[in-house]
Amino acid sequence: MAKIITDVVCPFCGTLCDDLEVKVSDDGKEILEVYNACVIGTEKFLHSQAEDRLTVPMKQDEEGNWNEVSIDEAVDYTAQMLCNAKKPLMYGWSSTNCEAQSAGHEIAELCGAVVDNTATVCHGTTLIAVQDVGVPSCTLGEVKNRADRIVFWGCNPAHAHPRHMSRYSIFPRGFFTGKGHKARKMVVVDPRSTDTAKMADLHMQIEQGRDYELLSALRVAIRGNPLPETVAGIPRETIQDVAETLKSGRFVVIFFGMGVTQSLSKNHNIDIAIALTRDLNDYTKAAIMPMRGHYNVTGSGQVLGWQFGFPFCVDLSRGFARYNPGDSTSNDLLRRGEVDAVFVLGSDPGAHFPISSVKKIAQLPSVCVDPHYTPTSAVCKLHMPTAFVGVEEGGCAYRMDNVPIETRKVVEPPEGMLSDEGFLERVLARVKEIKGVA
């Protein structure tokens, strides 16, 4: 008899859907079916069952051959590496739970590490903009229950956050939004004709990299001031039309993604997008929200915040926390050769960092902790496989609107396998031994 586990939280994207149902075998060891999840979420659960999954730590010798090592050896190597380094980089933290992040931070503090998360290459610019101008925002339920004007700017939820539109933003019928999508106006700003853009009431097909200008033009239009004939490739009338659509809404929400955070102008794009939202609050109610990618990148920023006061790229190497994006950010440190060891958990910089950074990782003592063998593993000296958070291990994660949800364990990990937190606790204990602290 198979059993169904309900209210399961999906550990894939920042949408953090918590209504999944997972059918597991009677002995609780095998996942048979996943219901309610998008294709990516489903695959995340099913992939944990892959037969070729790594279960034993692997270490690279000097010739580049991989050999199995014991967990004790993996713990010792990691602890020694972090203790011997003058300024280790501890990067990732976005695909793990807050408990593991917390254990990692304690290690980082003892070893004088830099702690950075994936915001460094996605919404870090957003975090900087928030430090400049703040952020009027809301929870996703406010969008569902109140919002009648939805803007997707530089993001493509149809592919990246597949259930976002059906759960929260476009289709659901909420308390004050009983007509669902029929009473919502959807605006998409994207240079590409994405699957999200195709669904929009209005697609502003902006010229690549001209977001700042268009946002600025919208602020002008909202105030009723004159505009040139076209801005960023969009005709004046369209901009005025969108401005009027937003002003006439009861509750406006702007969702934005890496199309604006990582294009030209970076954090300045977000500054002005927030300023636009702020302006709209003079006429109606308006909020803005980043489309966070990893399911717990938001949580990493939160835990770093309450423990050290900064949301990413926190440099603890001098015995107190420093924060200086562009200086204490991972790629800047790697490319300048400022770190002498790299620890990666809950992310895959090998696949996403510039090749110049990846080459640096390859030259340094390095550890990759990940359930999967990833491009990062390939350049690290040690690969430590762990249990999947949200599948084989519970723990807290924060949704893109900062709402914390406790993920659920649905199956047992392979025998003898540690969780991220369990591994980090072991490393922490070893670090304390090496450093001689109580």
Partner: protein, 569 residues
């Protein structure tokens, strides 16, 4: 556990009526005991020092989502504040919104052992508990906000107090909350549409109920539930010239009402940070103090308590579930604005603020906070706070004490204001020559707050049987003359015992203690209608499932301490 004897100190304990007498305090197994009960104690020499119970803060914003927004979006708040880890201490920094570690250490250094988080959005309860779990030393609890909750608005619109109480019981248990907090009742729901309720009779959009009905109905539910603390109110119209009338209207709602509980609490409502609610005039040009009218009411009605919300003239970070107020504030000072509307429950805003001694209004606000304290006839009902971090950071409490205890110190500060004469003419402060005593300070920071929280069976006094939370300050009330000594001594406890363990020794934090997280479990008769309403709201309007809403005690709380109440009768 170790036994201690704190000898020869000047003890101040309003519960026991000890006013500066030299009394030895004995500690055994984490509790205060009679001196005769200990055999081989470690003796702590407190000769020439002041001894009080551990401080109990009834209202501060120290954990949770808006606090963390304050931390993360103000890197400038960390400048020059960081201290490296040492011994048992983690590295810690931050000024107006310190990291959780610094919060724990700083309170301990002030001799405080219990701190209540004053506003917890239920949907973010897990976050609030995660921060409290990481905050060392302090016993803590958190007040979930109810004043704009859709369940409450709908039940009270229909005068369903019993259902309201059943819902409150469920929410306190589910979020591991401590008390009923009300912030800008109705106004924060109106903020969902960019609107507000400026008086207690403004109808809430759509819900067809008024703030007065919300506050009164929640009080009825609170008393029906026999909760340890009363409703904890931040009323409408905060921070506006002329708002003292709204405040008095709020007070009068509760006139003649009687408390119902087994915890020794005597008030039916606590009004918080009254300084922000005591303004006369009709614009910032003619704003003036109405502290006398406010305190006249408070002094004559013993069924209420309040805290001050003293402005400390610092650069700080304001944060409140009063969403429309924070928007109003950012329009006023043009500094950065963060806002989060929380589905079905509440909203919150965060805006930095500089209480400059060069600005007339800031001087007036500073004076009003102190006037309220000096005009209080019963210090067991009027408590020292700064509404941390709204009117100033909590570690300025010793400075507030200095101002309350010394007219010279007040006048020196008044003279240092740029618009001293204008502040003098708009306020009463210069005419008040009262200087509070240490006995009164002990009431305003320990005995009174513990009693108002329904925790006098645990904290607030040095009575045998209570938690052994004891602060020893290097302050000799017989010889100390310079008011600066007050600030220095009460910001740097010589010793702090927490639950019978030494946490601060000679000014240094030496232990992270064994903190408790307090929550209230109020049992009510089974209520199928409320259970059905909860299930329906989660299904249709929330974005998390009901099963994923509850805070898991084992995972998210350090040393949970359940206070049980039986309201089934």
């Amino acid at each position: 556990m170790a036994e201690y004897l704190i000898k020869n100190g000047f003890v101040f304990d309003p519960v026991l009526g000890i006013n500066g007498d030299k009394v030895d305090i004995a500690i055994k197994d984490g509790k205060i005991v009679q001196s005769t009960e200990i055999k081989n104690p470690t003796v702590v020499d407190a000769a020439g020092k002041t001894v009080m119970a551990g401080g109990v803060d009834i209202h501060a914003h120290v954990a949770g989502p808006k606090v963390n927004v304050g931390r993360n979006y103000r890197p400038e708040d960390k400048l020059f504040t960081y201290e490296p880890g040492k011994g048992v201490k983690r590295m810690a920094g931050g000024f107006s919104v310190p990291t959780v570690f610094r919060t724990g250490y700083k309170y301990a250094q002030m001799g405080y052992t219990t701190v209540m988080e004053a506003a917890m959005p239920p949907l973010y309860a897990r976050h609030t508990h995660e921060e409290m779990r990481d905050t060392p030393i302090l016993d803590q609890g958190a007040y979930p906000v109810f004043g704009n909750n859709w369940f409450v608005l709908e039940y009270l619109k229909n005068h369903e107090v019993e259902n309201t109480a059943a819902y409150i019981s469920w929410l306190l248990r589910t979020t591991r909350g401590y008390a009923i907090k009300i912030v800008n009742p109705g106004g924060t729901e109106a903020w969902g549409w960019g609107l507000n309720c400026n008086s207690i009779h403004d109808p809430v959009p759509y819900f067809d109920i008024t703030p007065a009905q919300i506050m009164k109905g929640l009080m009825d539910a609170n008393e029906a539930l026999r909760l340890p603390h009363s409703v904890h109110i931040h009323t409408n119209n905060l921070g506006n010239p002329g708002n003292y009338e709204t405040t008095l209207d709020t007070f009068k709602l509760f006139q003649g009402e009687k408390p119902n509980n087994d915890f020794g609490r005597e008030q039916v409502m606590h009004h918080t940070h009254v300084q922000f609610h005591s303004y006369g005039g009709d614009s910032w040009a003619n704003v003036e103090s109405k502290a006398d009218e406010i305190m006249n009411y408070v002094n004559n009605n013993d069924n209420m308590t309040m805290d001050l919300g003293c402005v400390t003239l610092d650069e700080t970070t304001t944060m409140t579930a009063d969403g429309p107020f924070e928007h109003h504030l950012t329009e006023l000072n043009h500094l950065k604005w963060a806002n989060t509307d929380v589905e079905l429950e509440t909203a919150a805003g965060v805006v930095p603020y500089i209480y400059s001694p060069n600005i007339k209004v800031c001087g007036i606000q500073w004076a009003i906070g102190l006037e309220l304290g000096l005009l209080a006839k019963d210090p067991m009902r009027v408590f020292i706070t700064t509404d941390h971090p709204n009117a100033g950071p909590f570690f300025r409490y010793p400075r507030v004490m200095k101002w309350l205890m010394s007219q010279d110190a007040r006048e020196a500060q008044m003279d240092a204001l740029k618009w001293a004469e204008k502040v003098r003419s708009a306020t009463l402060l210069s005419g008040l020559d009262r200087e509070l005593t240490l006995y009164e300070i002990a009431a305003m920071t320990r005995a009174g707050t513990a009693k108002a929280l329904g925790l006098s069976h645990m904290y607030g006094s040095l009575k045998p049987g209570l938690e052994a939370d004891v602060a020893v300050y290097d302050y000799n009330p017989e010889t100390a003359e310079d008011p600066e000594l007050i600030e220095k001594a009460f910001g740097n406890a010589a010793y702090l015992f927490k639950g019978g363990e030494i946490v601060v020794k000679e000014g240094e934090v030496v232990s992270n203690g064994n903190k408790k997280t307090l929550w209230v479990d109020a049992k009510v008769a089974e209520n199928p209608q409320v259970q059905r309403d909860i299930a329906e709201k989660f299904m249709r309007y929330y974005t998390v499932t009901q099963a994923n809403y509850e805070v898991n005690e084992k995972v998210f709380m350090k040393n949970p301490y359940r206070i049980e109440v039986d309201a089934t009768q």
